[in-house]
Structures are given as structure tokens and as C-alpha cells.
């Protein structure tokens, strides 16, 4: 073939490929239906429920399509913030209740339209503490989801093996520590079984106890100061870190990064109610009991509760459709699925005495415990956790003095709140 023609046809081929690639590069979704982009942080059980709800919703709303992204927790906040700023964010997403204020004050949330959900109706339908954090300037900017209580899980078999009765709740922190010590097994000089699955995820302990130690909760909203830097707070931190440093009921280097309770190598675990769903997936044969965590000295029985909120982006051009979807996500029928398959607790008052939900003893226990729930009220989420985790690590890993570590952590947390305030 004439080299010139060959060269030309090759050039043509290159051009065609380039144009084709360029065309592919700006692929977008078909624009026949309204597409609502929905982001959620990943949790296996919740993902399954959302997918089920999507198919139900799309069946009854043929003009709406939901594009669902389940993003791992570690990246979730790193993506939400910048993408909302850049205008490429989702239409519907979930944020922790304590963070709603931050997003709202940046003007990033669209309130519920009155024709989708009137305020009076909303307030009559939902449990008060689950919507407390969602009302700003007289309007609701989110609907609650993922309502959780922090509960103590017992491994029945390990309890019985240690001569303990897994049906009995602990009345005090000391009782808990004593039981944990007897549930701890050592082989040689290394841990073989942890009394409590603690080092894997200590934040549940911070949330539960820092909130229930004082009537004001973890943070005094008026003065933006934390409550745990007083004597009772330091005493609790000391008790908590002593579990590792003195009683050795867990070790950060034992099964590092693994969930010891799920593999049956820990006697107890303080975890959100949804952990029951996780266990069903990770280790369905595990037999466990649920209890309220024991109160700190002088405090009433109770547990901290947390919730997230589904919110709609203020930049979304489809707020009506988006809020329809959010309302559906939190409807009574949907909440039944959330409880049954997603390991959540309902936020609607009507479901509290529901016989179908109460037929599961685990759920019934949690529903009763809800009456003693106190909402976790720090102003932030991962950033606050990082500060509290640092307190724990400096004491446990570095041997820092408890009072000093707590004082520094409290100062850091208050500085964080001041910095957020100026925004």
C-alpha cells in the first residue's frame, strides 16, 4: 500500500479514536428521568436496606431514579465537604446529627418544604430527642435515621465459661471491671482472650460515658465547654484507661485491627444496637445478650443515643423530589425495614409499641432502653473523636498522667469549638 495512504489512514484512525475517547469522556446519565444522587457511608446492612427501598420507591415514582453511592466511612467526610463546595455533591446524603448545625450554618442544607412535610405533623410523628438537633431557624433541615443506642453485648458462652450469668446487668463500673478481668485469658505472657473488645474501637465508651456523666451531656452548649474535665470526668478516664494499663483486659497489639468480639475472642463489647446486624453477617452462630452499660458512680441508669440525619443539598435543583425520597426513607413502612434488616431503632413514635417489632427480644429490649436514652451532643464527629482518641492513646500508649491528658484534650476540644464558631 502506498505509504502515504497508509500514513493517512493511520492518522484518520487515530483521529477517530481520539474523538471517540473524547466523546466517552463526557459520558453522563440519560436525562429522561429525574436522577437523585444519594450518598451514604457504607455499612453492609444499611446498604442492603437502601437498595430495597430504592426499588420500592422507583416502582411508585417512575419518573425518579435514585443513583446510590455507598462510600466507606473513612472517605465519606473527605468527599462530602469538598464536593458540596465544588458543586458536584449529591442531592441527598446523611450526616451525623451533631454535625447538622455545621452544614446548616454553611448554607448547604435545604429545609423540608411545607407541602412535603408540615412542621406540626413532623413534630407529632418523631421522637423528640431524635429531631432536637435538626431544627434551625424554625425549620427542619433533616429527618432522623440510624437511631442508635449504645448497648453492652455479652458473649454468652464465654460468660458461662467464666462462671458468670450472662442475663445479669452490671450495677456499677467496678462490677463490670471485675467481670472483664475474669473473662480475660492469658497464654504465656500474651493475651489470648480479651475481657472486653476495647482497643478495636474505644469511641463508644467516650460517647456513652462522657454524655451520661453530667446532666448537661458531654458539652455545655451555652459556654461551648466540655464537661469531662472535672473530677468525675478525670475519675472516669482513669477507670477506663486502667482497664488496659492496670487490669490488662485488652491489648492494642492483640488481634490488632480485628473485631475480637465478632470472632469470639472477647467477652464483652460496647456497641451501637446495629452491631447486632453486623454480627449476624460476620458470625451468625454467636450467641449474645444485650444489656445497658452500668452507670458511672452517682449517675442514673441510662445509655447514650446517637442518630444521623438525611438531608438535602441546598444546591440541588430537585429539592421537591429529593425530599419526597427522604420522607419515604423515614416513613413508617421504611422504618420497619430499617429495624428488621438495617439494625436501626425507629424514630417514629407510632412504632414504639409495635407488636411486630417487639416480637424480636433484642429489638424489644432496645426499644425499652430507648426511654432512658440521652442524646450524644458533642459539636462535631470525627474531629472530636480524634481529640478524645488522642487522650486515650497518650495515656495508654505513652503513659501520660491521666489528669494532664484529660486537661489537654478538653482544651483542644474547646479550641475546636471556638474555631467552628467563628465560621
Amino acid at each position: 500500500m502506498n505509504p502515504r495512504i497508509r500514513a493517512n489512514s493511520r492518522k484518520l484512525a487515530v483521529q477517530v479514536i481520539l474523538v471517540g475517547l473524547l466523546g466517552m469522556t463526557t459520558l453522563g446519565s440519560a436525562q429522561q428521568k429525574i436522577t437523585i444522587v444519594h450518598w451514604q457511608h457504607h455499612y453492609a446492612a444499611r446498604e442492603a436496606v437502601v437498595k430495597q427501598l430504592i426499588s420500592e420507591f422507583e416502582a411508585t415514582h417512575p419518573d425518579i431514579r435514585i443513583d446510590f453511592q455507598s462510600i466507606p466511612y473513612g472517605d465519606y467526610f473527605q468527599k462530602i465537604g469538598p464536593s458540596l463546595e465544588a458543586g458536584t455533591g449529591p442531592d441527598v446524603f446523611q450526616i451525623p446529627g451533631p454535625q447538622v448545625y455545621e452544614f446548616y450554618s454553611r448554607g448547604q442544607l435545604a429545609p423540608v418544604p411545607a407541602d412535603v412535610y408540615a412542621t406540626e405533623e413532623l413534630e407529632a410523628d418523631f421522637v423528640p430527642w431524635t429531631i432536637q438537633l435538626l431544627k434551625h431557624d424554625g425549620q427542619y433541615v433533616g429527618l432522623p435515621t440510624d437511631v442508635q443506642l449504645l448497648l453492652l453485648f455479652y458473649n454468652d458462652a464465654l460468660f458461662e465459661e467464666a462462671g458468670l450469668d450472662p442475663s445479669v446487668s452490671f450495677a456499677s463500673l467496678d462490677e463490670l471491671q471485675a467481670a472483664a478481668s475474669s473473662l480475660t485469658k492469658v497464654s504465656g505472657n500474651r493475651l489470648a482472650q480479651a475481657g472486653i473488645n476495647l482497643t478495636y474501637s474505644p469511641y463508644q465508651w467516650y460517647w456513652n460515658y462522657l454524655t451520661t456523666l453530667h446532666d448537661l451531656g458531654a458539652v455545655d452548649e451555652q459556654t461551648l465547654s466540655v464537661t469531662y474535665d472535672d473530677a468525675s470526668g478525670v475519675a472516669w478516664w482513669r477507670w477506663f484507661t486502667d482497664l488496659i494499663t492496670v487490669h490488662h483486659i485488652d491489648d492494642p497489639e492483640f488481634l490488632a485491627g480485628q473485631d475480637k468480639f465478632a470472632v469470639g475472642l472477647a467477652g464483652m463489647d460496647l456497641h451501637e444496637f446495629t452491631y447486632a446486624g453486623n454480627l449476624a453477617q460476620l458470625n451468625p452462630d454467636l450467641e449474645y445478650s444485650l444489656h445497658l452499660p452500668p452507670p458511672a458512680p452517682g449517675r442514673p441508669e441510662g445509655a447514650a443515643g446517637t442518630h444521623w440525619a438525611y438531608v438535602v443539598s441546598a444546591q440541588s435543583p430537585k429539592t421537591e423530589a429529593a425530599w419526597e425520597w427522604v420522607k419515604f426513607l423515614t416513613s413508617e413502612a421504611a422504618q420497619r425495614e430499617w429495624v428488621a434488616d438495617g439494625g436501626e431503632l425507629p424514630s417514629r413514635i407510632s412504632l414504639y409499641d409495635d407488636p411486630e417489632l417487639r416480637s424480636s427480644p433484642t429489638t424489644a429490649f432496645a426499644l425499652d432502653a430507648m426511654t432512658k436514652a440521652v442524646p450524644y451532643d458533642a459539636i462535631g464527629w470525627d474531629d472530636v473523636y480524634a481529640i478524645q482518641q488522642n487522650i486515650w492513646e497518650t495515656i495508654v500508649l505513652q503513659g501520660k498522667d491521666v489528669a494532664d491528658a484529660v486537661a489537654k484534650g478538653a482544651a483542644d476540644e474547646e479550641a475546636l469549638y471556638r474555631e467552628k464558631q467563628r465560621e
Binding site: 505509504p3 500514513a7 492518522k11 481520539l18 475517547l21 473524547l22 466517552m24 469522556t25 463526557t26 459520558l27 450518598w39 457504607h42 453492609a44 443513583d67 453511592q69 455507598s70 462510600i71 466507606p72 466511612y73 473513612g74 472517605d75 468527599k79 469538598p82 464536593s83 465544588a86 458543586g87 458536584t88 449529591p90 488481634l255 485491627g257 480485628q258 473485631d259 465478632a262 470472632v263 460476620l282
Partner: protein, 295 residues
């Protein structure tokens, strides 16, 4: 020979006697043994990764560890695809981005390299030094403004957005310039006299003669594009547009407890490059040689 004399001096102890035959043989055997031991160390993690991908989670967690899997089943691999059916799509995404990047880099680098080595014009040296200088600018500096630009132009979650920062590379220009400089200029002059156009000369003379450098550059760019992590992490939000490294990181991040699945996913992720490596082994190493010398 005089030159050699200047650098070597007899050892202080007097004349040097080469080691005996036996000593040398022992040394050689020792060397081989050391290299084999080192090779085992080098391959140990690979061995561990592959065997774990066939084990169940309980086997992986066992103490003391079972070095070989009890059964050779593909169930972990099946589970990975079940949990993340898009895994094959991740591979496709990486491949498309790599294709765009390699094409663009080869094209622009050879054009610029040719201009910088075979043309004489004012500012040539300044431009070359400028381009070399850009190699010193780490990606992280451009990261945030590039992110803002790409978002403004709605290029997040697109192949073009993914490939954008890497479309032109100073390193490639440098490589091609060095190489093309060694092509005799007479060929091009002759073609000009024959009336060939400049683009024609480029496509029909320079490019074909640059094949060795082009393949080396192609391999480098391919590896660089395939391995990119920070940029894709920032600009890809949609599950369907993830590249392979991001896909693996996010998958493993979701299944931190499931080491068996993590290892299976890791094996799947390294497979493409390993295959490419074995097929193009010689070119790979040649490419490194080419650049190592020029440094």
C-alpha cells in the same frame, strides 16, 4: 593505561595476591546462597498474599498460621465479585485512563522532544530548562487548584478529568529529546529538500526511528498512570468511575475484617501489571536502563 594507573594504587600491605581457586569457588557458592535467600525474602509476601486469597477467614486468623490453604477454592474471588460486581469495571477504567494518558504523553513528548533537539531557534535552551524545572514541582502543589478547576468544568467522574494532570510530562519530553538528538539530522534535511512537510517528516521519519524510546516511555507512563492514587481518590465520587487502586482501597476499607477477601481482591488488582511485566519483561528493564544512564 596511564589513566588507569592514577586511580589504582597497590594496597598498603604490598602486592596483592588473588584469592585461591577454592576460596573463590566458596565465595561464588556463598553468593548464590545469599541471593537465593534474598529471593525467598522478596517472594515471601507474594506467596503469603496468593495463599491467603485461597483461604477462609478462619484459616487466615489461625495462630500458629497454616502456611498452605486447606483447599484450593475460588470462593473468595467469587465473593469479591459478588460484593463488588464493578471490579471488572475498575480494571476497564484504569485501562482507558492509561490509554488516554499514554497516547497523549507519547504524542506531546515526541513532538516537543523533536522540536527541542532538532530545531534551532531563539529561546530553545530557556524553554528546555523551563520544562526540566517543572519536573521539580510536586503534584501536591497543583492538587487543590486543579481540583477546583476540574470541578468547575464538571470533569469530576470523567475519564478526561482522571487523565488530566498527566496528559503531558516533562520527563517524557526530556527522554525523547535526549533520544531524538542522537538521530542524524541529515535524514530530516534530505527529506526537506525533497519537499516533505514538517509534520510529514515528524510522522514518517522521526517517530518510526524513535521506537525504542517510545516504548520505554510508554511503559513508564503506563505504570505511572496505573498506580495513580491521590488524584483519582479526590475526583472520583461515583462507584462506576473508580480506577483499580482506588477500587481496591475502598473495597478493602469496607471489608477490613475480611482479610480473605482483601487478599483475593489484591491478587486481582496486581494481576494485570504482573502479566504485562512478564510479557514485556525485556522492554521494561530496557526502559529503566535507558533512563538510568541519562540521569
Amino acid at each position: 593505561m596511564d589513566s588507569a594507573r592514577r586511580i589504582t594504587q597497590p594496597s598498603a600491605a604490598g602486592t596483592y595476591a588473588p584469592p585461591s581457586r577454592n576460596a573463590r569457588r566458596i565465595a561464588i557458592i556463598g553468593l548464590h546462597c545469599l541471593l537465593i535467600a534474598g529471593g525467598i525474602l522478596a517472594l515471601f509476601p507474594v506467596f503469603v498474599m496468593v495463599t491467603a486469597s485461597f483461604k477462609s477467614l478462619a484459616e487466615v486468623l489461625r495462630v500458629p498460621p497454616a502456611w498452605l490453604p486447606e483447599q484450593l477454592t475460588l470462593k473468595n474471588f467469587r465473593e469479591v465479585f459478588r460484593q463488588q460486581p464493578l471490579y471488572a469495571r475498575y480494571f476497564l477504567n484504569s485501562a482507558i485512563v492509561a490509554l488516554i494518558t499514554v497516547g497523549s504523553v507519547l504524542f506531546t513528548s515526541s513532538l516537543a522532544g523533536y522540536a527541542l533537539s532538532k530545531f534551532r531557534f531563539r529561546g530553545r535552551n530557556a524553554i528546555f530548562i523551563f520544562i526540566l524545572g517543572t519536573m521539580m514541582i510536586p503534584f501536591e502543589i497543583r492538587m487543590v487548584p486543579l481540583y477546583v478547576m476540574v470541578s468547575d468544568w464538571h470533569l469530576t467522574d470523567t475519564y478526561l478529568g482522571l487523565a488530566l494532570p498527566g496528559l503531558v510530562g516533562a520527563f517524557g519530553i526530556f527522554l525523547m529529546r535526549q533520544f531524538i538528538a542522537s538521530i542524524p539530522g541529515d535524514l530530516m534535511d534530505a527529506a526537506r529538500i525533497d519537499g516533505a512537510s514538517e509534520p510529514g517528516i515528524f510522522f514518517r521519519i522521526v517517530l518510526p526511528l524513535s521506537k525504542p524510546a517510545l516504548s520505554a516511555l510508554a511503559i513508564f507512563t503506563l505504570v505511572g498512570s496505573w498506580e495513580a492514587f491521590l488524584w483519582p481518590l479526590l475526583i472520583v465520587n461515583s462507584e462506576t468511575m473508580r480506577t483499580l487502586p482506588i477500587g481496591l482501597a475502598l473495597f478493602a476499607g469496607r471489608y477490613l475484617q475480611r482479610l480473605d477477601l482483601q487478599m483475593a481482591a489484591s491478587v486481582l488488582t496486581v494481576l494485570p501489571m504482573v502479566i504485562v511485566f512478564f510479557v514485556l519483561q525485556r522492554r521494561f528493564v530496557e526502559g529503566l536502563t535507558l533512563t538510568g544512564l541519562k540521569g
